[in-house]
Structures are given as structure tokens and as C-alpha cells.
Symmetry: D2
Subunit: 329 residues, 4 copies
């Protein structure tokens, strides 16, 4: 249940306050040069430490446990682990007051109360660090195809800094919108039906905690257009179009134009501003203020995660279409 | 590549102008009463014949080829076929002018030109008839959980009839927005990460031709809210909330409230209004008017398809959580 | 549960006395020339009609329902159906006396009694006709790799004809041993662990009804050898060995030599010779003689089925290693 | 490629001379009590240190990295790692002389020479330690179903000790035959076709290095019987039979009797007795004597590994049939 992909396959593991978080990458071709240093740039983009992000500090140094030899992938499964060091479990010690907007109650229902609830356990945003690590490998694999995502709005405003600062001041939080674009893609990726490019991308993107919407190309705005306006006129025999309302995907298949989509990130659930908590033992509502360390706008950290999810899907699709060789020399 | 699901699994097949379209349903519990008549209501909702829908007429009578005995499912794979009778392939005989907004070029790139291009081949909306059929079985299985979808806007307007009529008059087309709601769901469906409820629902919903966006609960609007506004306050120990900005899903897991999402349907690509077509042999653009039979607003037919996709996902998730018995007595 | 394969994937369907049996082949590359006539030779080898085989007659004419266009595969799923015409369900009408050596009781336990028990239902050897059909496509795909299987013993004797004739005379049945050999295989197919070449081949071969053993290369005899005797000495830098005790597989990976294995086929369960049946209602044992039409030695029909299973596995492995192109020109 | 299972899923990782070996167990129900101490008994059975087994010493202390909380499984993926400490890579430093009977050449062909060849890399028998660990969890899950395997012959002799001692003396090696039996199984596990009980068991058992044959019940001997002799007469309405030639499986489905099978283990490939090695650079054959630490009869260590593979398959099948609850209280 915790795996994704057909040929380039990832399986995620770990808990926020357990021993570690990590990812197991299976199906990566042999011969890809990978070192621990390669992960620094993207992991740094995901890391906390900017205004609006959590005070928790983790080195986020990936440990490459298997699948590498002499600096290259061997074709065997690659295990990347991140140890947990700065976990502070005290504020979480009881699920008596399930946090609004969090998975506490749903998780307890699902796992019969046996889930590790500390810091969100396996639901924690901390599991996105391993996903970013998988993205680093995938990006290298799909090169020169490029994936770039950016936060384009926070709290409904394009003045992202201002919106975040205001939320921090008030002990509140904001969400945001992220745009992602893939350039250099070949035409022909994706399947006509169940594994359409949109299906696979949305599947993995929605695994990122806090994502609540996705639209490709003109998306929801496109639903308000006429066909004569929406249709992207093909201008060259190779398929280039002037407009890109389809977001680079027709019939579930990439058409050779840039692939583009936008995702909606909900505001951080954990806020210090008082809100009503239910006491599940008594059924009483009670105004509480959450302590702990949180992001006022975790959407700030999400673009590199969206890139990783996208790169993983593209790597899988390119392998399926034999656009990437099983042995990389 | 053309299958979906872990326990309740479907695999789609067929072409618009081939012998048939169909679906193979594997993993359906034994003992579910199913007859050909059960399919009529939903298939009728999908059928053409209203203003704004194609003039092509098919009986859409499903043939149950396997997996049933004495009126009940046996636990073996269920094959449902729909024969093609009213296919008229003449208007499609050459891919020299790939249609704007269609998969013609992308499909040709993917399949090396060997794809059946007549009527969109395996990309045709006609393949949604089998998906609706799978939905009928799934709905019966998840009963009394209920799934209901409706078109709430066409061409950006809530006066759906008017918007469609205007498009028909002008030889143009419109898209729309569909809302879907699931009631009676247990908490605990979905997985923390790669198989979040949103991941699986979006995966299957995006396989429906023409869907270009999806948002759960408050979705994109939620990205503009503050956390204090967005968080759904839990009002009862069993998890009921007053608001439902999360759309019934926290951390990828259903929380016991209604599940709700909205999808954006693009305007129909095939329009009779003249538009520019490229001649892939000469590279020249040419104004052409498409003949053939098309929907001015195929979004009218999509709600029941969205319901089917949703019911299939819910059936799979309920089986995974052992909320549905492998033997139905 | 009824599918097999990663890239070249098959899903089987149908019942002995239902409307049809069939197979859905997904992931077949585009451009492979296939016609209904191509199936005749292998289907004929599987067919009944020789001494020792059942009196049931079916045309075994495959109907190609999807995935083909202008005589070639399109890359879309290929559905092959065989209609059932000569089914005679009368002798099977009650499961009150479960047949010794058959799945009657186990199937009833599994499916809560809802299974189609007529003629073995979905357990019938008739489902091997679609498997042979999938093998025909797979063989074409892996060409010039060749797969050849033959019955080398029946009832423990190499005088197959005599052993079968004796069994027929006595209303009894015999099993047999089949040898299969694959030539022209590249080295490097299979995975180090869970998807070893032996794992995948045995998985699919054991799906053939009545197979109860498999051994690769020297197999059980090899377990009695010394290492110095068993090890195949490599004689050329490209890996050729003089002996082939490993059956062409080292560490789960094909080594470039011929792949060879042997399978044990049990004697046909249905015999006309009287044997003890239990009355599941009263618990009394009763001597009964089974009517109906059966094979005294169905092992006679199994070699081509073993070839099909083998070819399907090889096709999947060659696609995984990118030894077969996704588009066949 | 390195995963197995539908609901109880395992994915193996690591190399003989890398950082670690390990296994990721996904889909294990929540609430199963598991501690590091639980692994000692089975890991000890697998461990080297008896006459005829390698001189390499590893603690084989499993580290439980995720998926456990307060001594019970949480429902999240369980990562079990074994660090490598006593690895001595020197004897392996060149693949110039590929070892007869080993995967050296095949692996190099598969992975383009990028594989970690030290100590067999990912092909090493050391990866069976994690498999045994997964078996420990699976055995707990399927309790009170019991799995027991034993070596019944070595080098073709039932005097196992004597056969091994002779091989050690001569710098040679022997293989063996292992019998495995499962008691307490419910009827109804397995699928009619591609996922027959034999298919799944053989799939996982053949992933164990060195296994070259498997037979269920009477197996190859059964192929020499008459049907009237082979058929297991059902003696009670619940399916008990006096004989068990079918090995507890009819039509791919467990029938409620004991499940039994035998596997053939080849003799250890690495022997110190001189044998001919090819120099892949010059193509010359050369008599060489292999140093390093090896098992003269690794079959001694295999029974507990066969048990683990069996328990993993049974756990998966019991979950599929809802015979094990997703939450264990």
C-alpha cells in the first residue's frame, strides 16, 4: 500500500518520532552516478529554517544503505535513510484531544489505535524528505528533461512574504498554490486510460500531505472556455502548439509540449491560535492552543516535493516507453 | 497498464470502431446478485441522445460473458462487453490532419502509428460505457454507501441548458464542473502516503477522457484560507465536523464525514466550427470544419462516469480494510 | 488475482460451461502481425481428439475482439475469446458428491458455494486454450528465441502410447513428465531474488491445472551430486558451458545457455473406474463410477500449454530488460 | 522487481559486503506484538557455525527501524536491517575469473558490470537473513497455523552428518532435499489460475538461492501413478482425506489437509577443490582453488528459510481471504 510505480518503484517508510524515515527505490537502472552530496541542494530547499517554517532542526543527511557501488547505482534496490535526532515527543503524548485538520482520529480508526501518533507518525510531513531524495535520483535519470516548481501564491496573495508574515504574527497559518512545469519531455508518455499522465501525476502529488487540488493546463478555468478557444492549434508536424491549455497532455498522453500543472496546498493544520478541541472521552469541546513546532506556511517547502513526485512519475513513464536505458553508461 | 485496483480490479479494452468495448472485473466477491437489467439505469444516464450530445446511437446493452452463475457473481473474473454497431469510420480515415485538442498525434507517437485511429480508437469516450458498468457492480458492493455526482456548471454558467444550447448553435462546445459526494463512508479508508484516498480517486477520475482538474473539499479556495478558518472543528468523539473543508479526508484517510470533490471537464475537442488544422505532410495550416458526430457538451454525460470511478475506488478500499466480505450472502 | 506479468500481462477469464473462455493480453508492443490463422497450429496441438483425450469437441476458433488493426497489434489490450458450444452440463448438476482429486470442495469453501461448478467452472482445463492463445502472441514477440516442450514419459513409462492405451482400457488415467527447452535466450533475464527466472516460470507453469512438480536443469538429481560434479564449467568468455546442470539459470538469472526444465503432471482426476465418493449430506462413502467426457492422459495436451506459459514469461522478462522494442516495425 | 506479495508484501535489499541487508514489510496488520528477541530463534537456525557451514560470523541482530510502537506493529511499513560487520572482500576483488556455478557472468551481463560483485553482492545467501526475519513476523500472524521444514537428505543420503563430513574432507560440497509441511490451514487459499497456491509458494521458494526443484504432495512420483491410486479419497464432508498425494492443494486451492512439498537444493557452488576457471580476458581455462569462507552444505541452513518463504505466502493468502484481521487485538 505504501509503494508507487511500475518500473521505477518507490516504497516509503518511517515515522516522525521513530528511529528514521526513508525510502526504498527499486528498478533504478544500473550505472547512474549518485553520491550523498547530490542530495544536498534539493533537501536544503525542503528544509525548515525560513520564516514561516518549523523550528525543528534535522540535518537531513541521507544515508545510502544499499544499491550503490563505486559511486554508481548497481541495479539493486537503493535504500536511503534519514535518522531522526531532534524529535521532541512530549507535546504529543495523548490523542485525547485529536487535532482539528489532522489525521489523528482517522488514523486511530484505521489502525485500531496502534499507530505511532507522535508527531503525526507515518503521516508526518517529515516523510517528504525521503520522497525528495527519490526525486534527486529520478531527476538525474530523466536528464535533460527538467522539472521546476514554484510557489506562486500564499493565502490567496502573490505577496507571499507578506502573507506568511501576517499569519506568523497571528499564530495562524496559510496555504498556497504551486505551479510545476516539465520541459523537454518526449511525446507518447502515459496510457490511454487508467494510467493517463494526469492519473499518475495526480496520484503521486496527492500523496504529499496537505495537497487538496490539482489542475492540468487551463484546468478549472478551461471548464469555462469554449472548445474553439480551448483547443490548442497544432502549428508544426511535430506537434508544437502556440497555446497550452491542455497542459501538454492529450488523451492522457504527453504531446511533446511543456507539461504544466498547478496544485492547491491547504493551510497548515497545526496553529498556535486557540481553536476548539474535542475531548474524546467526555465529548466536551474545549478551547486550546497547540504548542509544538510547526510551519505557518508549509507550502513554502512543497515545491521541491512536487518536483520530486513529478520526476519519479516521469522516470517511470520514460522507462516504460524505453526512453531510458536499463543500463546507463 | 490498462488496469486499476488492488483487490477490486478492473481492466478496460476495446476501440470505438472495433468489434466491441468492454471491461474485465477481477476480485469481485462471490454472491453479489447481478443481472443485465441492473446496468440499464446508469448506462442510460451516460447515453447520448439529449441536446448537446452526439448523434451516434448505440444500444449499450451489456453482455455478461463470465463470472456469473445463477444470477450471482461467482468470485471469478466478470467480463462485460458492449458490441459496436453504429460505428461510422469514414470521417476518420486519415490522420493527415491531426485534430486539435485530440490525442491523434500523441497516440501516433506512442504507438508508432499502429494505433486504431478510427473514432479515437482506444482513446474514445465510448470506453466509459464499460467503466459505468464496473461502477454498477461496485455500487452494489458498497451499498449502503452512496455516490452521487451532478453537473453544476457548463461553460462557466450554472444555466447549463442555456450554455449548451448556445454552443450547439455556434458549432462550438463547452466544458463544465461536476460535483461528487459520497455518503455513509466509514472512517479509515486510504493509506497515509502513496495510496491516499485523494491519490486513488484522482487516479481513476483522471482516466476519464476530458477531465483536467480535481479538488477535494474546499480545494483551490482552501489554499486562500487561513488555517483557523480551514480546519474542520471536530464536534463529536466519532469525528463529525460542522464544516467539511477537508472533503472528508485527513492525511489521506477518510474521516467519516461525507467525501466530496469537484472535477473540471474541458470543452469537447471536436467542433464543427472551422479551426486551423495542420497538414503533417506539408506542414501547412488549413482552416477546416470537422464533420462526424460529437457532443457539444460531453460533460453532460460525465457525472455517472465519475460516480462509477468513485464507486470502484471505494469498493477497492473497503475490501482492503475488510469492510466488505469476500463472500456476500 | 487472475492476472500475471509486469509488462506483458495476461488476465484469464471464463468457465467451462459458461458463455466463453478467454484471455486479455495487456502490454503487448504495437506493430506485431497477428491473425486468427496464427493460432491454429498451437491450438490444434492442445486440442482433444487423440486416444486418451476427452470426447468433448470444441472448434477452438479464437475470436480477436480488440487490440488489433490492419492485422497488427495496436498497443491496446488484446481480448481473445473462445465460445463454448459443446458444453454438456448434465453430468455435473450436483456437488453432493465432490469428486476425489478435484477442486470441488476447496472451490466451494473458497467461494461460499457460489462458484460455477459445471465442468469445473473456472478451474477447468478448458481455460488453457486462452493461455495457449497468449503463448502464440508471446512466441511471435520473442522470436527468434524458441520454446519447445514434449511429453517424455506417461505413467512412468517412455512408451507413452502403450501406457495411455492401458489406462484407457481400464477406465483409469495416467500422468506424465514434460521437458521444456528454450534456445536463443540472452543472458541477464530474471531478478536476483523474488523474480528469479525459476520463480516466474514456476509461478506460471503451476497455474496449469494438474502440474505438481518442476525442476530446473539437473533438479532433484542435482541435489544428490557433489559441487565439483554439478558446477557447469564455463568454457568461453561469453558464458557457454559444456554441461547444463543449472538449466541455464544462475542466481535466478539466465546465463545464456539453453534454459531447460521438467514438469510433473498428475494423472487425470476424473476416471470412469469406480472409486469412493463421499455424500457430503450424509457423510457416507459410496462407490461410484463417473460418467462425462475426460482425458485418460491430459498430459498429452500439456506440452503446448507449458510452451505458452514459458513464452509469456520470457516475453515479459525480455520487455523488462528492453530486449524487445515497444514498437515492432 | 524485488518485491513479493499482494497484501502482506516484502521487499528485499542490501548486499553481502555493503552496509547492510534488510527487508521492508508492508501491509502487516496493526497490533501484532513483535520484539527484536522474537527473531533470535529462527535467525539462529539459519546461522553459520555448524560443521559444513561458512566460517563467516555475523551477529545477525535485526534492527527494527520502523513500523513498531510500544512493542506492536502499527500498520505502517516495517523495516528490518542487519548490518554487515564481518565482510572480507579481498578474495572477491576481480571478476576476471567468473566462478563456475555462480551468477558472476549472468549478473555482469544483466547490470552492465555495475553490480556489486563482492561476496555475490545482492545475490548472496546473506539476503536470506532478512527473509527469515519476515518469516518470523508472518509466522506470528498466521498462528496457530504451523510451518515446519527439515533437511531429509544431503548428497543423496539420509545420513546427513556423514555426507557433509565427507564433502568437507574433500573440499567439495553437497546439496540436499528439504521437506516442508503446513498444518492447520483453512481450505480455500489460493486462486484457480495464476495465483494457485503452488504458483505462489514456488515463486517465493525459488527466490531462495540454490533451490532448483519443487514438488507438491506426491510430485514427480505422482506422475508415475494411476489416477485410481493418486486420487485422495475424501473421507469426511469437511474434506479430510486418508492419503495426501495432492499435497493439500486441489485446483490451486488449499483443501484443508496438510500442505506438503519438497525442494531440491543444489550443492554449494563455491568449493575449495580445484576446478577449471575461465580467464574472460584471454579465454584460457585455468585450474584454480577458491579461497574464501563457504558452506560445504548450505542446504543445512535452508529449512528455516523455506519456512519463512512459506509463512509469508500463507500470511498473504490468509489476508486475501480475510482469514486474518487487519487489526490484531
Amino acid at each position: 500500500m505504501n509503494s508507487f510505480g511500475r518500473l521505477f518503484r518507490i516504497e516509503i517508510l518511517g515515522e516522525s518520532h521513530g528511529v528514521c524515515v526513508g525510502i526504498l527505490i527499486d528498478g533504478c537502472p544500473a550505472g547512474v552516478p549518485v553520491s550523498e552530496a547530490d542530495f544536498a541542494f534539493d533537501l536544503d530547499r525542503r528544509k525548515a529554517g525560513r520564516p514561516g517554517t518549523t523550528a525543528r532542526r534535522e540535518d537531513d543527511v541521507p544515508r545510502l544503505m544499499s544499491g550503490l557501488f563505486k559511486g554508481r547505482t548497481t541495479g539493486a534496490p537503493i535504500l536511503v535513510l534519514f535518522e531522526n535526532r531532534d524529535a521532541d515527543s512530549k507535546p504529543y503524548e495523548q490523542a485525547r484531544y485529536p487535532r482539528p485538520g489532522q489525521a489523528d482520529l482517522a488514523a486511530s480508526a484505521k489502525f485500531g489505535g496502534f499507530n505511532d501518533y507522535r508527531g503525526g507518525g507515518t503521516f508526518s510531513g517529515r516523510l517528504t524528505a525521503p520522497l525528495v531524495a527519490a526525486g534527486v535520483v529520478a531527476k538525474r535519470l530523466i536528464h535533460p528533461v527538467s522539472v521546476a516548481a514554484a510557489l506562486v501564491a500564499a493565502g490567496g496573495s502573490t505577496d507571499i512574504e507578506g502573507a506568511v508574515a501576517a499569519a506568523v504574527r497571528e499564530g495562524d497559518s496559510v496555504g498556497g498554490v504551486i505551479e510545476c512545469r516539465v520541459d523537454g519531455l518526449p511525446a507518447g508518455l502515459g496510457e490511454p486510460f487508467f494510467d493517463s499522465a494526469e492519473s499518475l501525476l495526480s496520484h503521486l502529488v496527492f500523496s504529499i500531505p496537505g495537497i487538496k487540488g490539482i489542475e492540468f493546463g487551463a484546468g478549472f478555468a478551461g471548464s469555462r472556455m469554449r472548445g474553439s478557444e480551448y483547443n490548442d492549434i497544432i502549428e508544426r508536424p511535430t506537434g508544437e502548439t502556440a497555446t497550452n491549455n491542455a497542459g501538454g497532455i492529450n488523451g492522457g498522453i504527453t504531446n511533446g509540449n511543456s507539461l504544466s500543472f498547478r496544485v492547491a496546498v491547504r493551510p497548515t493544520a497545526s496553529i498556535s491560535k486557540p481553536q476548539a478541541y474535542i475531548d474524546v472521552e467526555t465529548g466536551q469541546l474545549r478551547e486550546l492552543s497547540l504548542s509544538g513546532r510547526h510551519d505557518a506556511c508549509f507550502a513554502l517547502r512543497v515545491p521541491v516535493i512536487v518536483e520530486a513526485a513529478t520526476a519519479v512519475v516521469i522516470a517511470d513513464l520514460m522507462l516504460l516507453e524505453q526512453r531510458i536505458s536499463r543500463i546507463q553508461r
